[in-house]
């Protein structure tokens, strides 16, 4: 495969104005998401001391919040919101296998072979 030369701006110490402007416009968003994550951490702690009727219900509430927070980290901080398809393909395969692994654990609870 033919190699492409590096872009001329990559060695430059002067910022590429388009790139700099694009990144600069995201800085406020990073701060906002950071604040949002901290706020939802406070909410998670608060809700964990609210009685939802059962321990299981509390776990589902906390896991829903944690998944939302993890989604924010992945989408904004890890730039998955606008990433290349190569990365999405990797992650799709990973998610399938990860769910498969949890499914195997779930199977263990329905094991028909019992010792007593």
């Amino acid at each position: 495969m033919e190699q492409t030369p590096e872009h001329s701006h990559s060695h430059s110490h002067a910022p590429d104005h388009d790139v700099a402007h694009h990144v600069d416009s995201h800085v406020k968003g990073y701060l906002l998401v950071g604040g949002l994550l901290m706020f939802f951490t406070v909410v998670t702690v608060w809700l964990s001391f609210v009685n939802f009727g059962s321990q299981q219900a509390n776990i589902w509430v906390a896991m829903a919040l944690a998944t939302f927070k993890a989604g924010c980290v992945a989408a904004i901080f890890m730039h998955l919101k606008s990433e290349k398809w190569t990365i999405y393909r990797f992650l799709l395969i990973t998610v399938v296998f990860a769910f498969g692994m949890f499914f195997l654990t779930a199977l263990a609870f329905n094991d028909p072979i019992r010792l007593n």
């Binding site: 990559s10 990073y30 998670t44 944690a66």
Partner: protein, 291 residues
Amino acid sequence: MEIPYEVSARPDTGLYNAKIGIWLFLASEVMLFGGLFSAYVFLRVGALPGYWPHGFLNVPVGFVNTLVLIGSSVTVVLAWASLKMRRFAQYKIWMGITILCGIFFLTVKLTYEWPAKFHHFGAYIKPEAMAKYEPYLGNNYLAAKKLPPRVEITGDVDEVALADPNSKAYVFKALDEVNADPTNPASDRPTFWQRPVVEKELVVDKADVQYASMFYPRHSAFFSAYFLITGLHGLHVLGGIIVFTYFWLPVGANLYKRNPEHLANRIEVVGLFWHFVDLVWIFVFPLFYLL
């Protein structure tokens, strides 16, 4: 030697090589931590009522550490943004703060949280001896309120007597409030602020105990999972700190002088790893500290 696509994107994937590399590594990390969380679920769901410790971890400390780790995720992305905007002095500041946050997180864990556990003791009472220790377990009260039974007495133990192989009893010098005052409704559920131990002596015959240990990994499936997952997570934090420090030292400045985009890419890659470490903690904190 120049490695192709070290800085610029490959035409076929649209990504520079290191980015593909880190995402493949993170995919393997998802499987690693996924396996451990899967084991956690298996152990927790399979635990008999009362045998999954609850409320022994310091919630305010875990809460502060969570905020610090989230804060460090913000500062590392700001460090990367500073490099993209070619503001090296700003990058040094944000990266310095990130490193300090990581060091703070690890210091709290290794010098406060873990050592506190190593000096806390628990004795699981045999089912046939439960009635004898009812004033410290409060199981009749818990049954009336349809709450899970209490099967363990915990607190500060006389460690000198504990080391004596001829001793026939465990001597508690102070008890956790759940055992000192087990029918107090305030002890029904764990609270945000950890309650101090109550100065109340109790001698528990070893013959009445099915298992006893300091809060080491061997104490229970809970502490085994806790030390394994937080330990592995801590190693990841340490790895992140080492690489961040490497790029914060003159190595980073030299690389920046040669090719600023190269340093920006390196920080993006390590940053992705750091965000993943933060992401794992987002699940660890509620699962172990709160629920």
